[in-house]
Amino acid sequence: MNFNMAMFCRAGGVAVFFLAATGGPAQQLPAGHARDFTSESYFEPPHEQQVKMKLTGAEASPLPGGLLDVKQLRLETFSLDGKPEMVVRAPQCFYAPLDGVANSSGQLELQSADGKFTVEGEGFLWRQNISSLTISNRVRTLIDRSASPGFML
């Protein structure tokens, strides 16, 4: 998959731009503890102005290796028409912004925008470039009856 994804990161009130695509300009990361940071990725051309995914955190602390220790992770995905699709929440995760990878051994909750579909589990790996979320343990999904009058049967 073509990973031509521009990300916009705001940390500690200071805007820091960086490109995750290979060959992009020099990359900068927040130097210290930050609050309310946001990272956005966009659809591929010709919809490059449309936000595809927004990752936010209440706090982010830098770690060795370019990692961020993110508290109160919130990951939102959007459709091409700008409507929200899914929201993922986790109390804590490690985020590698240059790789677009987040992981945690802790709890995670995913919910569709219409609330009909919720998932919770323990331990996850989020791969931003392919919009893939793996939940490692104790996955529990609830599907609202209006989306599943009778599950299969």
């Binding site: 995905t77 459709s79 409507k83 699709e85 899914m86 995913l110 569709s112 925008a113 219409d114 009909k116 579909f117 998932v119 589990g121 392919i130 919009s131 893939s132 979320l133 793996t134 939940i135 490692s136 343990n137 104790r138 996955v139 529990r140 999904t141 609830l142 599907i143 609202d144 009856r145 209006s146 989306a147 599943s148 009058p149 009778g150 599950f151 299969m152 049967l153």
Partner: protein, 190 residues
């Protein structure tokens, strides 16, 4: 090869006219368990692990997959679910490997189905609703009265009919089996 249609209007055991599709009103009919859908508890899927592809809107559940519904219990080794978009509903589910389904029919009788694979498909085309569950891989359905073997075993949920092929139907309380042209017309229609 003729496909045998086992007509099971109420659960598994009574007759109904043979149809394959039905005109659909504004709310496509299904044979979901009776009751207020809004008040029923949600369907639940539990598994050891899962992969969600948010581009494809697809979930793959892996390891000890268990589906709990009000009248259905399903277990399998892995399951693929096409996630509904906003406002949509489930329209494709694949349960694979060691599929075991237990469900209670309209008569309150427990039924048991085993197969290697079960595929649920829901489609509305114009005014026609197609909703099927296709069991393949040596499907065996055990009802209160019969043991049914068919490859494949297709349940047309919109019509509540079973489509059987290369079938063998054995009464549970007799060693005699019925199948092919010897089958009782009271049980199924060709």
């Amino acid at each position: 090869m003729k496909i045998m249609i086992l007509m099971l209007a109420a659960g598994w055991c009574s007759l109904a006219p043979a149809q394959t599709n039905t005109p659909s009103p504004s709310n496509p009919p299904t044979n979901a368990p009776a009751g207020n859908a809004q008040q029923a508890p949600p369907a639940e899927i539990n598994s050891d692990a899962a992969d969600f592809d948010l581009n494809l809107h697809q979930a793959v559940y892996r390891g000890h997959v268990r589906v709990l519904d009000t009248q259905v219990k399903l277990t399998c080794d892995w399951m693929v679910v096409e996630l509904p978009t906003a406002g949509g509903r489930l329209n494709h589910v694949l349960a694979d490997t060691n599929v075991v389904v237990d469900f209670t029919d309209a008569k309150g009788q427990t039924n048991h189905v085993t197969a290697a694979r079960a595929v649920y498909d829901y489609q509305v085309e114009g005014l026609v609703t197609n909703e099927t569950v296709t069991f393949t891989g040596n499907p065996v359905a055990e009802t209160a009265d019969y043991i049914i073997l068919s490859e494949p075993l297709i349940w047309d949920r919109a019509q509540n009919t079973f489509h059987l092929k290369n079938e063998s139907i054995k009464p549970r309380h007799s060693s005699n089996s019925v199948g092919g042209t010897n089958a009782s017309p009271a049980l199924f229609l060709k």
